[in-house]
Amino acid sequence: MDRKRLYLIISILTIIVAVFVVSQVVQRQDDQVAAPSIIRMASLLPLDGQVASYGEMMRNGQLLAVEEINRDSMSTPIEVTFFNTSHMKDVALDRLREAHQNGYRLVVEIFGSDQANHCLPFAIENGLTILSGVDTRPDLIRLGKGAFYRIMPNDAAAAAILVQWTQELGVENIGIVYVNDDWGKGLYEEADNAARQRKVNVAIVADVIRHQSSFAGTVAKLKSNPIDAVMLFIYPDDGGNLIKEIHRQRLNTRIFATENFTGDDMINAAGDAAIGVMLAVPKPSEDSTTLSQFQEQYVDRYGADPSIFAIKGYDAVKTLYIAAVQSGADPLKTRETIRDLAIPGVGGFISFAEDGEFIPGEYDRLVYTKEGENLALSPWTP
């Protein structure tokens, strides 16, 4: 290879490494100057690649929480730093190490069950405390050995609720559409088990990929068997397109979906086709003002309805913040405080069992109805 390029690349590399080291050193220094009163959290999100959009929603919710906390001068200020995992396990672990170097002991999110799973050993041995809003794989709590908590009911709960609902409606044959990632697949498996227990026949199963360009084939597959209800374990934007396609191919069945279908994405894509879509959503806390407040704030700030990710991100920051304040920002003490925490969250009442598993609250059964011009969620009545 010619010298010129050799020198060019070497210089680029050296510059980058120099900047890297300098930034590390700078961060280390402001660790020392940082007042102990500041509560610092790290948040590991996928901010590029295929799932970047959900990382961003999560980040928006967390930012909102941070701003709200820092707004009133009484409380101790909070600082959340975002690390990009690119949705890769090894990168996530490297980011966690970097955060640990820079003095972060509280981790408010590790997006993706497998990423969290890969990071757990490091977190356990270095005494970090992780609170996740989205990681729904059932065995995470057991593997976490006290280092890992979540405020999302695991797949089993949500799936069981939906299947129970279909059973109460006297549905024999259901179809399941799930998205090909660990969240969707996990939900599908749990729902399959639940259906087998409750003697509901899963007639047909179709999978979709993220941002699938056309759902014609999928819906045709659904039509090929007689089903009178379909469960969607997919992301809202794709779900919107899928519902649109279902409406267009005149497949008239009941449509059940998980809580992440609240929010704008689905409505935007599906339009009036979304009328009659039934959602099982964790019951908001008694004073449901918090949810509406949060939604107002979110719309003011970002100009779109909050998705489930935003809600969970907001709740996660709030929860971990409260626990940290009570325990003086000490990660190990924070674990205990988290366990016996019981606070009303935006996405439902938050409390933990003895083993640290999140106790799913009551589920509301909502259905989309048309109110004047635009669609709205209203409680479902038999």
Binding site: L47, D48, G49, Q50, A52, S53, G55, E56, M57, N180, A206, D207, V208, I209, H211, Q212, S213, S214, A216, G217, T218, A220, K221, S224, D237, D238, G240, N241, R248, Q249, R250, D265, I267, N268, A269, A270, G271
Partner: protein
Amino acid sequence: MIYGVMRIIDFSHTDRMTIAAYLFADLNRPLGIYAAMAIACISAALLAVVTERGLFAGLRRRGYAVMMICSLGLSIILQSIMAITHGSMLRTGVIREYPLTNFLNLYPREIVLLFGVPLVILCLRRLLHNTYWGQSLRATIDDYEKAIVHRLPVARLTMIAFAISGILAGASGIAIIIGTGVYPQVGFKYLIFAFAACIVGGVGNIVGALLASLTIGILITAAEFYGSALAAEGVTLLVLVAVLVFAPNGVFGHGLRRI
């Protein structure tokens, strides 16, 4: 078109498509749908011409690989800019469309495409094969130096070609955002199949490319119907690979090209 005719692997082509889609999405509220379409297409064409003048013109003598890699860098840049301005979420529902119940409930968009695309393709074919401009353009691509020697207006020819391709990209971007919506990295997904259409259809053979892309679409949908959506693209690509290995010039192609 760029690949089939200009024979440059241009990764940033589909990003022009995405940019046009975003422009359309932003403008159709204030300006109305047709103005937005026009502006989106024109800006895509402008972007294409600027890319050609600014990036490819200087690199044409440096071989295909350099142009390819530079276009890759450009596409990464464009994607990150779009991610900054619009976020990474899937942008859907710009226009709420309703199927025409009386006409095999297709969407208006689909009907337009159904009749518009063959028309455009045929026009392009005529343009390339039956006009002086098209012939000299193809001559330019076949042998750049010779074209310069023969005093063909090389710069203008390539600029026109890029402009046309930009307009087409803009149109397809609008179709996509009305249909399923776009996100910053959407381009790469479509790029693979666009190349597939070009190669299997035969390089420089536009009608062949159209037929090939139809086949690909049918293959994907069929795979989604019979198998799973995850396998769909893989299976389709596998078929394409088989076709290419057994018919290296593409199905409608003639003359294996070398670099």
